[in-house]
């Protein structure tokens, strides 16, 4: 055992309150496992926003459709990385695919992930972009032209019949895609919710709470990206679109909050064996991240801001400013939600007699910097994707932005 680790654990030993089982001193799931559900949540949320257009025919949301799809794709590509980096033996990760244990929720990750990536997102993106890829591939020369032709899988058919088929296919995929997005993130919730040893996690509501908060974070992210992109391109923001999407965001936050409040009240009212230690946990260890960041800054304040923006009849600039502030606060809140679940669930002893401490590494492979890099990566991928795959349909494309 290296002396650095011994030193760190000895330091943590001094921060214990009450009694913990001796093996519990090491916090096993680090910040990377906070990043993982945060990222998959963004994927699921962004996809569900995109499907509003295709399945429920919400025309106002159309301007964000492609951006939402690409966002989901960019984040999905990064989603397995925090898991992989967190493994003690990452070189053995393939075992989870080759010899999965069928009773393990975690073993299903590879299959859920592959299904969602291959059968849903990539397919939908391809059908959505096929016509544009063919048009661009025919016009362009050089590398970009070649890339576009390759991405269209060298199809040439832009007849009305083939386009009608594209539209039908997209609709079908979206209809399959919604339950798949629910599966992807509900499943992540199940990984935690099915752990009966841990009363902070073990709740049947966990997958549903995860899902709702995923929708909140995904919508908020797409709004953020849409506004940023408009600012970078110096284009006007489509206000009806923004107003509609923020309304959805508003209702999603309310549902999310109601579910979490229900969970909280239910625990308090049932008052099981663990209620005392969980009470100490939230007041001593999670006060800042739960009450201040998640609930006050991540929910109440953005809800207030959205209410002000909607009912005070502000002008466009005022609304934009408020929306932008709200979505950033919401992101902060949802990240805190993930933190409170993953880290919070490991800060109390399963003897229900004491609390542990988590000291985040900064430089290490499971440290703060890795988490930052992982959170930045999807944005870089998205920047590349947007360069290759325009976020607007070609027909209504203006002369040529950025």
């Amino acid at each position: 055992m290296n002396p650095e680790m011994a030193h760190d654990l000895t330091e943590l030993l001094g921060q214990i309150t009450g009694y913990i089982y001796p093996n519990e001193i090491e916090i096993q799931w680090s910040i990377l496992i906070v990043v993982y559900p945060y990222i998959t949540g963004l994927v699921a949320g962004a996809f569900i926003l995109a499907s509003l257009v295709k399945v429920f025919n919400v025309k106002e949301v159309q301007p964000t459709y492609r951006l939402a799809l690409l966002t989901a794709l960019a984040f999905l590509l990064v989603a397995p990385l925090p898991l992989l980096l967190h493994l003690g033996r990452p070189e053995r990760f393939y075992e989870i695919l080759l010899t999965p244990n069928v009773t393990s929720a975690m073993a299903m990750f590879g299959f859920v992930y592959a299904w969602y990536l291959m059968a849903v997102l990539l397919l939908e993106v391809w059908f959505e972009y096929r016509r544009d890829l063919i048009v661009m591939g025919a016009q362009e020369r050089g590398l970009m032209g070649w890339i576009h032709r390759a991405l269209s899988l060298f199809s040439h058919d832009t007849s009305e019949a083939s386009l009608a088929f594209d539209r039908k296919a997209i609709r079908a995929i979206t209809i399959i895609g919604i339950p798949s997005a629910f599966l992807l993130h509900g499943y992540v919730g199940f990984i935690f919710g099915s752990v009966k040893a841990n009363p902070w996690w073990g709740s049947v509501l966990m997958p549903i709470v995860f899902l709702m908060s995923a929708i909140v974070s995904g919508i908020a992210l797409v709004i953020f990206l849409y506004m940023m992109l408009a600012a970078i391109r110096k284009e006007p923001v489509n206000m009806p679109c923004l107003d509609t999407v923020t309304s959805y965001l508003f209702y999603a936050v309310i549902v999310d909050f109601s579910l979490e409040a229900l969970d909280f009240i239910h625990r308090l009212y049932q008052s099981e064996e663990s209620v005392k230690i969980l009470g100490t946990l939230i007041t001593h260890k999670l006060f800042m991240s739960l009450f201040v960041l998640q609930i006050l800054i991540g929910m109440f304040i953005p809800l207030g801001i959205l209410v002000v923006a909607k009912w005070r009849k502000l002008n466009e600039d005022g609304r934009k400013l408020l929306y932008f502030t709200a979505v950033i606060l919401i992101q902060l809140g949802i990240f805190s939600t993930r933190w409170n679940v993953v880290i919070g669930g490991q800060l109390f002893s399963k003897s229900f007699r004491g609390l542990m401490a988590y000291k985040m590494e900064v430089m290490g492979i499971e440290g703060f910097l890795t988490a930052l890099v992982l959170l930045a990566m999807p944005f870089l991928i998205l920047a590349v994707l947007i360069r290759v795959l325009p976020t607007k349909r070609l027909a209504d494309e203006a002369p040529k932005p950025a």
Binding site: Y19, P22, T103, S104, M106, R353
Partner: protein, 264 residues
Amino acid sequence: MNKRDFLKGLILFFPAGGVLGALANGSDAKEASPAKAGTADTAPKAGPKAYDPKSHYYGMGIEIDKCIGCNRCVEACKAENNVLQEPFFFRTWVERYVIKKDGDTVVESISVKGKASKDAAQEDSDVLRTFFVPKLCNHCVHPPCVQVCPVGATFATEDGVVLIDSKRCIGCRYCIQACPYGARYLDPRTKTADKCSFCYHRVRQGLLPACVEVCPTQARIFGDLKSKASRLVRFARMNKIHVLKPQLNTEPKVYYAQMDGEVR
């Protein structure tokens, strides 16, 4: 040798070979049978070939009132299984409970410091009762760790022992999260999960687990639940027994006698 002699020889040779073979088998059986009778408590003393996991089902009994908190089981376990000496990794550990008259309960693991701390040991008049509780992997009948392992690296053997294949474990630590008893840890040397194995390498050779072997007061009883004459079965018959966290339905196979309700 002509053809006739050869055939005559053959007629004699095969039956004789058969008889000799039967005799040899018989002596093998004689050798094995006392060992089987002697398995009452533990495992057969015959070689690994004669060991049949189907005919055993292991568990452990712990008589709380007999434990004196000497920590020798913990030391023996660390030595036998090459467990890291640092006080963050235990396949077994001993907890000390001090229950005060006002209902306050103070628990500590004497194994972390190697001995019970003096300040907690004072014989104050406000102490109602104190006792030690050895803890280890419960080798559950329904082990949640086995259920959640994504690659099947942790598994239950036919003879009722939950083991880890450290060559297969990917170090995801889901099993550590799923264990309600805090019995597992991540070995920083191999970056794989580790925990008590009931000293499976010893048990299969008919030996007792190291912790049971060294316990000076016989507070730990190891045995075969499938053998009526086993010490464990007798222990379960003679004591009112309890298991840890029965409400989780893991069905632990470490049985405690004289267990206080404060023990979790």
